[in-house]
């Protein structure tokens, strides 16, 4: 450390008048939040869209409870959905819970986990992204 060049050396001065207190922060607390593109709330007005589970490129694969794609027949995983879900159906489940149509709660949870993990370039991603919106 450098030599002490602080103007206030009196230990009684606990609230220095000219110097600001700065907290570097606990490790893990974010000081940077980046603004990302949003199709946001406009979804309903611009898009009537489908989310296949899984997407066409991986049809036939199973979805495990975490939403990961696993080989067909994997124990404890679920076969894909027989039809794509409508954006509105997914939106309802994301916002207020409940189940995707034609599924029980565990299967619905697995499918929703899959949908949440969608990345750009995968079928259904744009639709899913368009459903994302801040709550409140």
């Amino acid at each position: 450390m450098s030599d002490d060049t602080r103007p206030d050396t009196d230990p009684i001065e606990t609230t220095p008048s000219r110097r600001r207190v700065l907290t570097l922060g606990a490790v893990g607390a974010a000081a940077v939040v980046s603004i990302r593109p949003a199709l946001a709330q406009t979804a309903g007005s611009v898009l009537n869209c489908d989310i296949p589970v899984p997407d066409a490129g991986r049809a036939g694969s199973f979805i495990d409870a975490q939403g990961k794609i696993v080989p067909s027949g994997t124990k404890g995983a679920f076969a894909g959905a027989s039809r794509p879900f409508k954006g509105e159906e997914v939106r309802r489940v994301l916002n207020s819970g409940g189940q995707l149509p034609g599924t029980d709660s565990e299967r619905s949870r697995a499918y929703v986990n899959y949908i949440r993990r969608l990345q750009r370039g995968q079928g259904g991603f744009t639709c899913f992204a368009s459903l994302q919106m801040p709550r409140g």
């Binding site: 490129g57 991986r58 794609i69």
Partner: protein
């Protein structure tokens, strides 16, 4: 308002030739009426050349509505350029510790080098070329810097690694931008397999730690990309790139460079098509088919000439793979679709 082709003077054409001529000879747009302008702008958007058109027409006295639309396109192109160069910079930061050459390709390279071909050009993914020997380290570095695989699919992955000229596509988890890491410029399955080593050896430093191909290398790559790496979708933009590169650098030594990579014919054809579409040159034989395909777009932005399009689609796959593998590939894709 039954057919909206009536407002276009015959000299400008009723397909994407309208766009080609406006790009090559901006003064000719002064003859357009409202319907002609609408067609031109729609075709330019569909061919991803609206930003390029906007820069070509900058300064001409235009109808106010057109000026506003092209002003938006110029601003969008500028922001796109900024984002593309930033993506290149972030890749540079990730790869700098490796010390291997990183060569920018296509749109990002044109923009980074300040070339005519980069003016207003829409730029999608970041394409970089690295030495094949460095590929594993490059892969590890980009994965460590926030890029992730787009498709965790074993068939696609094996296919890419075995046959393609690049890593499977990666996307950055924060910035949502894709990067294509090439180790050569054509698929290993293609009939011609250009040698990437001299391309990298001849590459030119940009001064910021990144590189571009040499001028002739860029033209050869653009021609290879136009004819061998796709079904000519978006081909008009690629051909415009070549036209600008040739205008800026000339063609000295180009034939030799093309021959070195086994790409003499595609490069020669590209030059003929540039002359035919953008300089009024006369075309003959199969070149006319190529122009039919490249300009297959109507004033509503719709793709036209489905038979021509299909023929080029099949041809593109046939070029990329031996017949048995093509059948296997199409079969696998079809079964999954």
């Amino acid at each position: 308002m039954r057919r909206l082709v009536t407002g276009i003077p015959h000299t400008l054409g009723t397909d994407a030739r309208l766009l080609a001529r406006a790009l090559a000879d901006p003064g000719r747009v002064m003859a357009l009426d409202a319907e002609g302008w609408t067609s031109l702008l729609t075709i330019a958007r569909a061919e991803q050349l609206i930003g390029t058109l906007a820069l070509r027409l900058d300064g001409l006295p235009l109808p106010r509505a057109v000026e506003a639309i092209l002003g938006d396109a110029r601003a969008a192109a500028e922001q796109g350029r900024r984002a593309a160069l930033w993506e290149a910079e972030m890749a540079r930061r990730a790869l700098a510790p490796l010390g291997c050459p990183v060569v920018l390709l296509k749109g990002t390279a044109y923009a980074a080098a300040g070339l005519l071909a980069g003016q207003g050009r829409s730029i999608g993914d970041l394409d970089i070329l690295v030495p094949r020997a460095a590929l594993d380290r490059v892969e590890a570095a980009v994965l460590g810097a926030g890029w992730e695989w787009v498709k965790p699919d074993p068939y696609d992955d094996a296919y890419y690694r075995r046959w393609m000229h690049e890593l499977p596509p990666l996307i950055h988890r924060e910035r949502d931008r894709m990067i294509d890491v090439h180790h050569t410029i054509l698929p290993l399955t293609a009939r011609v397999t250009p040698d990437p080593a001299p391309l990298i050896a001849d590459s030119v430093p940009l001064g910021n730690g990144l590189r571009t191909l040499s001028p002739n290398g860029m033209i050869v790559h653009a021609a290879a990309h136009l004819f061998a790496d796709g079904d000519l979708a978006g081909g008009l933009r690629n051909l415009w790139d070549i036209r600008c590169l040739v205008e800026e650098f000339g063609t000295e030594g180009l034939a030799e460079e093309a021959a070195r990579h086994g790409l003499r014919l595609p490069v020669a054809r590209a030059l003929r098509l540039v002359d035919g579409l953008f300089a009024g040159g006369r075309l003959a034989g199969s070149d006319r088919l190529y122009v039919r395909r490249l300009t297959a777009r109507d004033g509503w932005g719709r793709p036209t000439r489905p038979a021509t399009r299909l023929a080029f689609y099949v041809r593109s796959h046939a070029l990329r793979m031996p017949p048995a593998m093509l059948a296997r590939h199409l079969w696998t894709k079809w079964r999954k679709a």
